[in-house]
Symmetry: C2
Subunit: 281 residues, 2 copies
């Protein structure tokens, strides 16, 4: 059986924190990463639009021959997972369920805070995923629209990040959460600031790490995990501005982004819509 890669996609660079966690957890696996940088961000866009983009991105990765599809964008995972699982015959993992699962295992009081983009918070995907596991939990979600631009500006630990975080998190601290879900793949870059603000007794759930754990257990269950000790490869594709991706993405991935190629989703999606006999507009 050939060594097929795992496909990961995000609206841009945020998903690199998921890829990074997955590489640490599954060093022998190879990965194909797709960042839809021509249409980033998804967080301020509507569900139909995000679903259309997600199907195009997934189609591209499936054409690359991936054995597993990881939706490393909270907004896309919150609206597109069932449709992707229906369309493509391979395991599909999102970032919401693993984060919600870990939050439910960590919380003692049952009062859980969730922070994310406007789109993710409005979708209430984390609230639903947590309440499904723990119906008596109290979930408080707040959107933090400035965290993504702050992380991309490299200001994740800048004083400005702390002022913004203090304002955004005030209602969560007030409500005495004991667990905080970082419901956006950009937010790991603000971890030290967030931990300082909520205090050491509040547990942070990094959905990138939680997702890597789920990927590992699914691969093991499937008996498809690559057993060799060769380090896997990573290839990056973006829909726009590979140079910016390389520069801004470095701290998200934690290493140089060597092989970045430009992808054209319009063509792939056209083929897929036609093949499926129906288009998503």
């Amino acid at each position: 059986m050939p060594h097929r890669p795992i496909g990961i996609f995000d609206s841009g660079i945020g998903g690199l924190t998921v890829l990074s966690a997955a590489r640490r957890r599954l060093p022998a696996e190879s990965f194909v990463y797709l960042g839809d940088t021509a249409r980033v961000p998804y967080g301020t866009k509507g569900p139909e639009t995000v679903l259309r983009y997600a199907v195009q991105a997934a189609s591209f990765l499936v054409e690359q021959g991936v054995k597993m599809l990881v939706v490393a964008c909270n907004t896309a995972a919150s609206v597109a997972l069932p449709e992707l699982a229906r369309r493509f015959r391979l395991p599909v993992v999102g970032v919401i369920e693993p984060g919600a699962d870990q939050a439910c295992r960590l919380t003692r009081s049952g009062t859980v805070g969730v922070i994310g983009t406007e789109g993710t918070v409005a979708s209430r995907a984390y609230d639903r995923a947590i309440l499904r596991r723990r119906p008596r939990a109290r979930v408080l979600s707040v959107p933090c629209p400035l965290f993504v631009p702050l992380a991309e500006e490299g200001w994740g630990e800048h004083p400005v990040a702390e002022i913004c975080a203090r304002e955004y998190l005030a209602p969560l601290i007030e409500a005495k959460i004991d667990t905080l879900v970082l419901g956006c793949t950009h937010y790991p870059l603000l971890k030290p600031v967030l931990q300082r603000l909520v205090g050491p007794e509040v547990r942070l759930v990094d959905s990138a790490e939680a997702t890597a754990e789920v990927m590992a257990s699914m691969l093991a269950a499937d008996d498809a995990e690559f057993a060799g000790d060769r380090r896997g490869d990573v290839v990056f594709h973006v829909t726009d501005l590979p140079e910016r991706f390389r520069r801004v993405g470095r701290p998200f991935f934690g290493a140089e982004l060597d092989q970045v190629e430009t992808a054209d989703l319009a063509t792939v999606a056209g083929r897929y819509s036609a093949r499926a006999g129906r288009g998503l507009r």
Copy 2:
């Protein structure tokens, strides 16, 4: 001759500051506004992508029967103006030239600061437009990526905006600029903070107001300005999330956004590419 509207487009809501200035300057004119909210922002995207989007947006407005096309997005104006003027047989106005023109009229020392998105600054469109008029000017441009999210968050006068502005503007203040061009249609919402930081002796150029002046003079020259005293209409189209547009856009427009419709650019653009016998991908 029928009372044809003026078409204005932007990647999202920023262009509403241009529409607002144009409404004040030309109250009897009617307007069709298009915000490409499904793909906002353009500022972090590459020139080819932005050009493709701009042609689609302009095609949509031309189909609405507009008599003039206003590119109220600095990023789009910096890359797409010549192509739009070539493709469509109607006056095309961008926001760059009017702002550059006013800066050259206002500066005494010839040391001009320009602030904008990464895309606008990287295009050097303001630098070129100013140096063409005043070859011995000294132009310093800095990107301010956090200003757009701050303005959209309604934090244009928040302490965070002041800290960010202090950091971004430091090299311009150091260089003793006497004129500062707000090279992004979102930035008028940060005007009080910016003016306070650079001091009262530095002149701010609001490209929205400069553009409205140019529109007025082109209409007068063309003898097409509507002479009646009825107040013109405004219709808004967005490619995604009309509700968010209405809520976030209000402070940019300075009034309620009543009639917001959803537009599908993909169909329009398809027709246009076919008609022109060539596509922009």
